[in-house]
Symmetry: C2
Amino acid sequence: MSLCVQPLAGIFFPVIEKKGLGQAYPEGLDRAREEAWRAFITAYAVGIEGIERGLAEAGLPPLGWYDVLLELSVAPGHRLRMHELARAVVLSRSGLTRLVDRLEGAGLLRREPTPEDRRGSFAVLTEEGARMRRRMWPVYARGIAEHFGRHLDDDEVRVLSEALRRVSGARSV
Amino acid sequence: MSLCVQPLAGIFFPVIEKKGLGQAYPEGLDRAREEAWRAFITAYAVGIEGIERGLAEAGLPPLGWYDVLLELSVAPGHRLRMHELARAVVLSRSGLTRLVDRLEGAGLLRREPTPEDRRGSFAVLTEEGARMRRRMWPVYARGIAEHFGRHLDDDEVRVLSEALRRVSGARSV
DNA sequence: TCAATTTAGTTGTGTAAGCAATCACTGTAC
DNA sequence: GTACAGTGATTGCTTACACAACTAAATTGA
């Protein structure tokens, strides 16, 4: 934050520049970090919007579906318990139930009862689901490139990766 | 992306490592950028979730309201046309109509007809709205610090700000 | 001057999210 | 064995968003 110098009673003394908003910063935040945060959420909004538009225009499902399909793709046995999946895609449990409903309705995954705990169930990727993920990837990838990757140089990419992994890794601090 | 070396027919030759997902990268994307993107969206999801939780626990309105209140706070005359506001907060026009409805219902802003164009209307910040924004800020700020700022050193903050401003500035590329 | 087009904002409808309550089952204690 | 607390997932309800259709007003232009 740029300190600015204001005349008062004949002498100059520095005051915190407030944009007229009376904002004070708590421990761990300053003007630079606030601005980084705003750049962060704006870049997210703009990027996601562009990528979703690309998927929609290609007649493909939204990003949330890709996330689920990807998590299942990399999971051992192409299957995850509902709560594991919910955690992986950052969604409430009830939200996930409905999301999985839709994917199941589209034939991209199926539910399977767990042998060891009859309350639980697995979401299991179907062949069609794997195919859909592969079909979505090029469009998604183009979106990432277009709305994100191509604006960054290699050093920035390195810093972003490392820093943001730390941010999300902290999770429930 | 780490090239890996695979034996084939007695000779070694480098292949793109695929995680078994058959992913290929288009122009402008590579493995590092894909990972940065994933770190980016995960950090966003986790951060926003934490901040919204903080606001909710303090009995305050959600982040979307803050955005509107802030834009109006910094706007000349504490007023913006609906479409300007919609653009500023990255929301569809219809979405904004409802959001402004809610804020107006809560007394945080009021609509005012425009003198020069009788189709349009201003959203004008009320004193109560300004007060609410000031009340929300400390909680929001703590959230930013907790879920974002405090995990970053000053160099990272600088890089993030600059890089992400470039990303969102590109807008509709 | 007056129809045709464009623009500003709202409304109808469908979809997706979360919370809280619930159902179904497990594991534990008595 | 049976009650009971805890867990996994679903369901009811509410809220919020987007798209498309609409209303009203401004602008164009013939």
